[in-house]
């Protein structure tokens, strides 16, 4: 007979213990039902980790799209470095491996009293717990003239997919010497370094294919995330190609004229060959309609369970939430989703609770072989999520360190999307 080492014994009895602590539910008792609305990073992660946590929880994920294209890494597509197909993920594994029911529909209304969600086809889903991961919406009227029709001429490309493809096509067909205008949004918005990563990677494309092209960033802000790292990289990689104009210089962007592809500020009008307009943002529409957002337009939550501060029994994760230092990033959404899933599983099954660990890790490209990274840990303090430990790359890092970060970023993408969709 095999003799077990102490460690093997410990590990395996640990597994047996896990089984013993899993949901205590009588045979024949109905499973607890959790509905997750939104199949982006936050929603898909909640669904997966809830389903994997307890066999006694029945998970339904509501998502209109058949596939999800990640906004992170989509700037590589704009630079011609990665096909959009490589950024696109299906939900099959969530059903096949975790038994999640994926309903491809749109949630139209939530009734927290009846605990039901109404879908666009008129059907309703009942739930014991609801998780809403609505992502972002654009603020209506934030920029005069920037409506749905204008978005087809001057794409935002801030929800990846068709808009990203459109912007890439425009960049490809732009003549050398043309002006690319990027309108950067006011805080807070999804993925703070992303507009500036976009400018960097579009510049790398121009450098290869249209070396006389220029990039103008018209910012709603007077400073931006990791500004020293970006401006150092722009001087090193793309001297004279990228100009950044803060709001204090321009008065801010006030209007868009899609007919002439012009961006209008308080003091001047800039006519673009290609314009990428990223508007002001708020929590997704459903969060607004369901009373989950406060006057800021974003959703306050309990920082331990991610339960809505406004609507008990409804949890929120991802870009739509506010309440502290966590930025709106895919990594944060994933981290919040796990904490939320474990908290719900513990509540529904009576299993043990452990302190959650919340992180953000971010890789940002300055050029195809030059990336920087940061790492932040968070914990709940006085009802808010507070940054506890924070590290970010330094300007003086060697090119080899940056090359390694660019390679690590590719590995991160593979592992991260596997964690969410695989």
């Amino acid at each position: 007979m095999k003799s077990w080492t102490r460690r093997e014994f410990g590990c395996l009895t640990g597994a047996a213990l896990l089984t013993a602590l899993r949901p205590r539910m009588a045979l024949g008792q109905a499973k607890a039902r959790v509905v997750v609305i939104g199949g982006g990073i936050g929603g898909a992660t909640v669904a997966k980790y809830l389903a994997a946590s307890a066999t006694t929880i029945d998970v339904t994920l509501v998502e209109p799209r058949q596939v999800y294209t990640t906004c992170f890494f989509s700037n590589l597509h704009l630079a011609g470095l990665r096909p959009l197909e490589q950024l696109t993920h299906g939900y099959e594994a969530l059903t096949r491996q975790y038994g999640i029911t994926v309903v491809h529909g749109s949630a139209e209304a939530i009734d927290p009293a009846a605990k039901t969600v109404t879908l666009n086809n008129g059907s309703t889903l009942g739930y014991d717990r609801l998780v809403v991961a609505p992502g972002i919406a654009f603020r209506d009227g934030a920029l005069e003239g920037y409506d749905e029709a204008a978005m087809e001429i001057m794409p935002h490309a801030w929800n990846a997919g068709q808009q990203t493809r459109l912007l890439r096509q425009q960049l490809e067909s732009m003549e050398d010497g043309g002006l690319f205008v990027l309108v950067a949004p006011p805080n807070p918005f999804r993925c703070p370094p992303a507009p500036y990563e976009r400018a960097s990677l579009v510049a790398s494309y121009f450098q290869r294919r249209k070396p006389k092209a220029k990039i103008l960033i018209l910012d709603a802000k007077d400073s931006f995330n990791a500004q020293d790292l970006f401006q150092d990289a722009w001087n090193r990689h793309y001297p004279g190609m990228i100009e950044w104009l803060p709001a204090q210089f321009t008065g801010g962007v006030t209007a868009i004229d899609a007919k002439t592809r012009s961006v209008i500020t308080a003091g001047a009008t800039f006519k673009a060959a290609v314009a990428n307009v990223i508007p002001a943002q708020m929590a997704g529409r459903l969060a607004q309609q369901a009373g989950l957002a406060n006057r800021s337009g974003w959703c306050p939550v309990d920082p331990v369970t991610f339960e809505s501060a406004l609507q008990p029994g409804v949890h929120l994760v991802g870009d739509a939430i506010i309440g502290g230092d966590m930025p709106k990033s895919a990594f944060c959404a994933n981290s919040q989703a796990k904490a939320c899933a474990f908290a719900i599983a513990a509540d529904l099954t009576g299993s043990a609770r452990f302190p959650a660990h919340l992180f953000n890790t971010c890789y940002t490209y300055l050029a195809p072989d030059d990336a920087f990274s940061n790492a932040i840990s968070f914990k709940p303090v006085d009802g808010k999520l507070k940054s506890v430990i924070s590290f970010v790359s330094k300007v003086e890092e060697s090119s080899e360190v940056r090359r390694q970060a660019a390679r690590a970023a590719e590995g991160w993408y593979d592992a991260f999307t596997h964690d969410v969709f695989g």
Partner: protein
């Protein structure tokens, strides 16, 4: 008694293997390992980021303690390790090492 323990072990083993890499339930190591999974694949396919699957419990523990002590070579891992207690490091190392012995 030996048989009973053996049965418990065998049952636990089968259930461990039958659960996915994301299985968390009420196991602290599994919940902490969910954080690892955001960057490290737990199915042995890591690329670009150093794999953690296949490392034994002792190596994982000593690596985490080294990351906690210094931000070189990775301040990402330094930040993660700084946020974990000794018990949490032991717990996650035990869980991840067990995944390595039984890759899904």
């Amino acid at each position: 008694m030996r048989l009973v323990v053996g049965f418990a072990i065998a049952t636990g083993f089968v259930l461990l293997v039958s659960q996915s890499e994301a299985a968390a339930g009420a196991d602290q190591g599994a919940q902490l390992a969910a954080t690892c999974a955001s960057c490290h694949r737990l199915d042995g396919h890591d690329k670009g980021i150093p794999p953690i699957i296949g490392l034994g419990e002792d190596r994982l523990t000593s690596a985490m303690l080294a990351y906690r002590a210094s931000q070189s070579p990775s301040y990402i891992m330094h930040a993660i390790a700084l946020s974990l207690s000794d018990e949490e490091i032991a717990s996650v190392a035990r869980y991840v090492a067990a995944q390595g012995r039984n890759p899904p």
